[in-house]
Symmetry: C2
């Protein structure tokens, strides 16, 4: 079969087809039609030369490039090409060799519409937004989190003490940084033990539920051991760097967490290596859908306003993909019974930025600040309090400037980061 | 600490430092010096704002941008930042958030020089090139492999029969395609059983050693189950799509394969999503070093001459990284006792291209052809024979045109793909 056998303008995808939306930049001398056909061929069952076996049964499994608008092409894949429940296999199919083809000079997987049979083959989030809110009994405001800073270098004791200060200042969650796992200065087992001891103390003293997102990222078996330790010691969550551990390990962790009753917080470190270029790679929108399928409960999606790149439309599209029952960004997706994923806004945030974040993303989010809390002139506890005050101001419809008049921690925070002139 | 605290021109890295070579495109209005400092900061222990704790102990853990040449910057990371043996943690550090920073408009991790303590914390290849050659008792020519084509759609019986034809034609290895795992048309357990039955027959009939690269890519526990089945049924190898399953699962597989005595063949599907752009992402050179550390025995590195993008210098640099005891492309690397990885050349190859491939890559490789074998006018067995004939011609220093005079399978192959005019 040649590439033309994989181009079917006007084809109407069946309900069980998986649809990919690609942005294609054809190589020099290659037409859009040829490039689309070659991508569909390489990502399904074509090969570069004619081979003997190509009966009806084989032809039926071919992908079909069926709609082109400018540089955007939709390709439909028969579900028979895939092993349901195997994310590595799915990606090796439509997001594998195609990125290295000579027929394209750029190729970006913008979005995927997953058929029901694939959706139901993955576990999806165990808790979802409702389940997470139930843990904290907090229903009317964003949840809050902080990462100790400096991100690495603290001892287990310092880490736990920083957590205690943050919890006492009003935050719900302590979180490990993405590059903190088990280093000599702060070993995993010791950190978990110390931090949960302080967590228990903070819960007792405040009467509120507090928790800790423990980074278990490691080789799979060691990761599962760490997750079990978190459960044993009384934790509610594990955190995982999903891109650097990889989807097979995340699937395994999700499976284990079902038994353990632990929620999964996903950090996306390394995502921008493949999603930043608008003309090549895999979009964060696609990665967020994969995260929901595989079944994390929380996922970082950017801030629009902080230190990392994240345009507004991209962030709100991703949020729609994560939380809607029927998401419409960019391809239509019926999520069936898959629970939503709680979006986490983080990256250079401080209390002065909270109104922007909540205006853009609403209340069903986790607001996470690191330096924006620990860098407060009066330290971590005051910084945590300032973050809560900022959220309360927005929730009550009061401007930060007004609210700061009667809330000194917020005032100092706003002054410190230039959102309010010192009195 | 500000970004300037992470810029140390003239710093001499210590033996235990890990060195990253980045290519940086600073964002508009940002100097190279600032961009370098910000990358070093974000990938070690800096944060965007001043925080209270920054004593000598913390400062010591900071990364140091120490050498700039044009857009290339070397950054030294104190080993204390890392958890040895945890690839996810290493990547989340120096190949994590940095790709999404606003301070850069492009960032590419070109190469990493790994210190001895990190090298020795990973398992490395179990077999290496010598060990693989010993399996086959083949020491004087490239090993040979083929993937049944069409790549997906065949039944288990057809797949096994194609393998039999290829083995009988002279090939050493049958290989699953990267998107074939366990689909309804060809279930894993059945394929393994059928294929090894034909393998045993081909061994008996030829007196040669034959083997099969079985794609076990899946959720980690299922992947291990599949690996154990391969062992039980008499296999020598598993194959894994390392990028789509992820490094934590590959580490787990490597660990299991030590016990099972199985070699690991790595396919790199999806690598080009992050390594194709010369200005952003992670280079294949870096991915190949990671593969060697984690411990695969064979790895696809391109062809220079086939259907996928792979410039000559890139391929030979990667080969140096995979096989040398002291590799010098691009950063110097002493591999200590880590065994070499056997490079696999594949992607649109046919017998007519073998002289080019061997001239560029030598004999210590696996030459893999799919369509270039099954597309032979007389079918798979003749195609396999033609590939061996082509290798023999090169080994004996005879031109393909001359060799083809007395070898009809090669002649028909060369005629078919336009490397020889029909007589």
């Amino acid at each position: 079969m040649g590439y033309v056998d994989f181009v079917h303008p006007g084809y109407k995808p069946g309900k069980s087809d998986l649809i990919c939306l690609f942005r294609i930049t054809p190589a020099k001398g290659i037409s859009m039609r040829e490039a689309s056909g070659r991508v569909a061929s390489e990502s399904s069952n074509g090969t570069w030369t004619d081979v003997s076996l190509h009966d009806e049964r084989i032809v039926r499994l071919g992908a079909k490039a069926f709609e082109t608008k400018g540089s955007f092409v939709k390709i439909a894949y028969p579900i028979g090409l895939f092993e349901p429940g195997n994310m590595a296999q799915l990606l090796s199919s439509f997001a594998g060799n195609v990125f290295g083809m000579k027929a394209v000079s750029g190729l970006r997987l913008e979005d995927v519409a997953w058929p029901k049979k694939i959706i139901s083959s993955f576990m999806g989030p165990q808790f979802g937004i409702k389940g997470i809110r139930k843990i904290f009994r907090v229903y009317d405001r964003p949840l809050t989190a902080t990462v100790p800073k400096p991100k690495v270098g603290m001892t287990s004791d310092e880490h736990a003490k920083t957590g205690y200060e943050a919890w006492m200042g009003g935050l719900d969650l302590l979180k490990d940084d993405e590059n903190l796992s088990s280093q000599s200065f702060n070993k995993f087992d010791r950190r978990v033990e110390k931090s949960f001891r302080m967590r228990n103390l903070a819960e007792k003293q405040t009467g509120d539920v507090k928790s800790y997102l423990v980074n278990v990222s490691a080789e799979t078996n060691e990761m599962l051991r760490r997750a079990r330790l978190v459960k044993k010691i009384g934790g509610e969550y594990v955190m995982v760097d999903a891109i650097t551990v990889g989807w097979s390990a995340v699937q395994t962790l999700r499976d284990e967490c079902e038994d353990l009753g632990l929620a999964i917080h996903m950090h996306r470190a390394m995502h921008a290596a493949m999603d930043r270029n608008p003309m090549h790679g895999v979009s964060m929108l696609t990665l967020s859908a994969i995260s929901r399928l595989v079944g994390v409960d929380q996922l970082h999606i950017g801030t629009v306003v902080g230190k990392l790149v994240s345009p507004k439309k991209e962030v709100t599209d991703i949020q729609d993909k994560m939380v809607s029952k029927k998401s419409k960004k960019i391809l239509n997706q019926n999520w069936e019974n898959t629970k939503p994923v709680l979006p986490v806004s983080s990256g250079g945030l401080h209390p002065g930025l909270v109104p922007d974040v909540m205006r853009i993303m609403g209340s069903d989010i986790v607001i996470q600040a690191g330096g924006g809390i620990h860098g407060h002139p009066d330290g971590t506890r005051a910084g945590a309090t300032a973050l809560l005050q900022s959220i309360n101001a927005v929730t009550q419809g009061v401007s930060l400037a007004d609210y700061a008049k009667s809330h000194i921690e917020l005032r100092k925070s706003l002054e410190h980061w230039g959102h309010l002139k010192p009195v």
